[in-house]
Symmetry: C2
């Protein structure tokens, strides 16, 4: 019964994102090491028992590079988050060279020893790569409340360092997976020709992991994006914040915000032939932001589609809200409703549950103004049910992506969120996660 109704979920990929690809070129098979100036690796170090499973990833910039990051707002934030924030804000002045990620153990709720372990991880990696430990960003994912095995870092980091290559992105993406069913990567490139950087081609690529405890709050799950575009730390941070708020922060698998969420963006500038960094307000920065958006949105959607036990990606669009906060509240309440998510799993166009979720969301509207479409079929218009063809609905439920569109009829704000259905498999996965 666990896999009842399950589709083979494949990465949705950039191919399905034509709407955000104008002026950009998809890098087929691209990822976190597609941009020039970066190498990556994923190896089995031993954090996991299964020798066939990678569990340690390294992403290394050839030179200290501007780095921006967003972190979880969870009060129980994990030790690696605290240490990486110190490195980035303090000593390293927004420059970094390395991201190291282990999977299997989250190093969260581990007290002072956890902080020491995270710092020691930075020291081991710094010594191996040849950079100050403050240029090392540290991330962990896995079980909460368990201490890291530091011997595994001692032996694993040199192994990963030796494996570093321009083609290592795919292995790195594999090494950071927990309950993900496939790695999540994307990359796009754009020409510098018409934006003041003749002869240059810039690339933005990245990787991320899901797929449970996912409802990022001003931060994200573990994601790493690299670019060879020339961008200073300040501008990099502003741009990343804007893009994350529209992509990773619009994903929810299960309403549970993780203790370990983080998103890193490194900019090597290696494709600029020494030209000036992109300036604020320039066309170059605008194209860069769109490229970053395309990569982050692709990975974010893919994260929702590969949510634990998911059989369908659900896209919730809310328009007609009084302001952005109301739009987000309404869409997030629908996207987190267990009743809506189980109805999609059961292929039941039970829009009453969408209405009930909207009504409790806290968004301001009048029920007589609300319209709802499911999978392109009108089901509610101005608060009144619209008869629809149940057979046709069943056919449309075969699609891998289920659209829910809501017009609150109360204003001009809108938003889009991504989530997935709730299946038997979710219960199975999370009933025995530690066993």
């Amino acid at each position: 019964m666990g896999n009842e109704g399950a589709l083979e979920i494949e990465p949705l990929g950039l191919a399905r994102q034509e709407d955000c690809l104008e002026g950009l070129t998809v890098v087929e098979g691209g990822g976190v090491s597609s941009a020039r100036g970066f190498r990556a690796a994923g190896v089995h170090a031993g954090f996991r028992a299964n020798p066939n499973r990678f569990d340690l990833a390294l992403v290394v910039a050839d030179e200290p590079s501007p780095c921006a990051a967003t972190f979880t707002q969870n009060v129980f934030c994990a030790a690696p988050i605290i240490v990486s924030r110190e490195h980035l804000d303090g000593v390293s002045h927004g420059l970094a060279r390395v991201l190291v990620v282990n999977s299997g153990t989250a190093n969260a709720a581990t007290g002072d020893r956890g902080l020491e372990d995270a710092r020691r991880t930075g020291a081991i990696v710094g010594a191996t790569v040849g950079c100050p430990e403050t240029e090392v960003m540290v991330a962990s994912t896995g079980v909460i409340g368990v201490h890291l095995n530091m011997e595994t870092f001692e032996t694993g980091v040199p192994l990963a360092y030796k494996a570093l290559s321009r083609e290592g992105g795919a292995d790195a993406a594999r090494a950071i997976m927990t309950t993900d069913t496939h790695p999540k990567e994307a990359a796009v490139s754009f020409s510098g020709e018409e934006i003041g950087y003749p002869g240059c081609t810039f690339t933005v690529g990245g990787m991320a992991k899901g797929s449970g405890m996912i409802m990022p709050n001003m931060a994200t799950m573990i994601a790493c994006i690299t670019t060879d575009a020339p961008v200073t730390s300040d501008i990099l941070h502003e741009t990343l914040s804007r893009v994350v708020s529209r992509t990773f922060n619009k994903v929810t698998v299960d309403s549970d915000t993780s203790t370990n969420d983080c998103c890193y963006l490194f900019a090597s500038g290696a494709a600029s032939n020494g030209a000036e960094p992109f300036a604020r307000g320039s066309r170059a920065l605008d194209v860069f932001e769109r490229a970053l958006y395309a990569v982050c949105r692709t990975i974010a959607r893919d994260m929702a589609a590969d949510g634990e036990g998911a059989t369908r990606l659900i896209t919730v669009r809310v328009s007609g809200a009084q302001d952005d906060r109301d739009a987000d509240l309404a869409a997030r309440t629908v996207a987190n409703s267990p009743l809506v998510k189980t109805a999609v799993f059961g292929h039941d166009a039970n829009w009453g549950r969408i209405a009930a979720a909207l009504g409790r969301s806290g968004a301001r509207f009048s029920q007589a103004d609300v319209s709802i479409d499911m999978m392109g079929m009108p089901v509610l218009r101005k608060g009144l049910p619209v008869p629809f063809d149940e057979e046709e609905a069943l056919r449309r439920f075969e699609r891998p992506e289920i659209d829910i569109e809501v017009d609150l009829g109360a204003g001009a704000s809108s938003t889009t969120l991504w989530t997935c259905d709730f299946s038997h498999e979710y219960i199975t996965i999370n009933g025995d996660y530690r066993t």
Copy 2:
């Protein structure tokens, strides 16, 4: 796999509530018609196809009686809620005689025709019982967006009226069930001897339904409580609000607040031998409030224990919060966390998920001050893991009630919430609710 790990859930009943029964006597098998001055009935009227399933309940006071109610805050609130509120606030000045409830159809998101249907229901009942329609409270539960079959009311109401009796409470409790696995009733009595009402014995009894779309917001699912104590409308309303905020409003099955939540409390005064109503600040009112609390808490806990697909009742106690809002936020976030609920289903003492839920709740605290117990076993002390006996944990998971106790170490406020685990059965029930 649907029933994997499922216990036979029985009503937890008053027997397990010793802590709130001081000075009260449990009325064995008692319910909504235990108090004097009330009769009740439950019949099969035809809202449901299955002729063996009751679907229409009547609770009738012999005389117009003070009545208090709390209603859902959902913007998509259902037609019967709107009509009952009009009746109670407006024309009937806090007096009412009848509650009529149908199950199978919620009469929510049904526009003007829904309002007309709810008013017409009141008129049919009023004509049958012999009272103004404004003394009739109307409630519906079932599928959203479907119109009521009014012919079923025309034939069903006289049938239910004929069946009214002092013993009809059990049938009424059965008639309001939807996905509940058993009816939810309780009653207690207390002597008037030492509280200024010599020779009198007062009773408080009630019924309610669950068991999905349950997270009441300043209101509750459908519940009806009756008493033969003499209490005026104003005091009745104040008392009900206080008790509901500590009982029904502390239940969450799935974080989904219904469109049809309502709780009614009727006070016939029939056991007072014509004495004055209970005065504000009197010992009599104090005992009455404790009796009401005992009945509502019993039914509320039972509602959580019988949540859709539940195999365990989960009681979440949070102490050490800065204020009541923080205590509720922390407890509610833990109680609604799909990861916590699936861990209990899987008998996994994965307290890291509790910590993660607390951390994202919005409650103010420092992780180094937090302690957590599961089923009486310390698992976290001052932010640090405490090794515990996993075998013993597995044994304690066999209990029907799983206690989670959290001390935030940030203040003096505390609260208790009740919820249930998330099972395969929840997915099954809600994947095909309409089919």
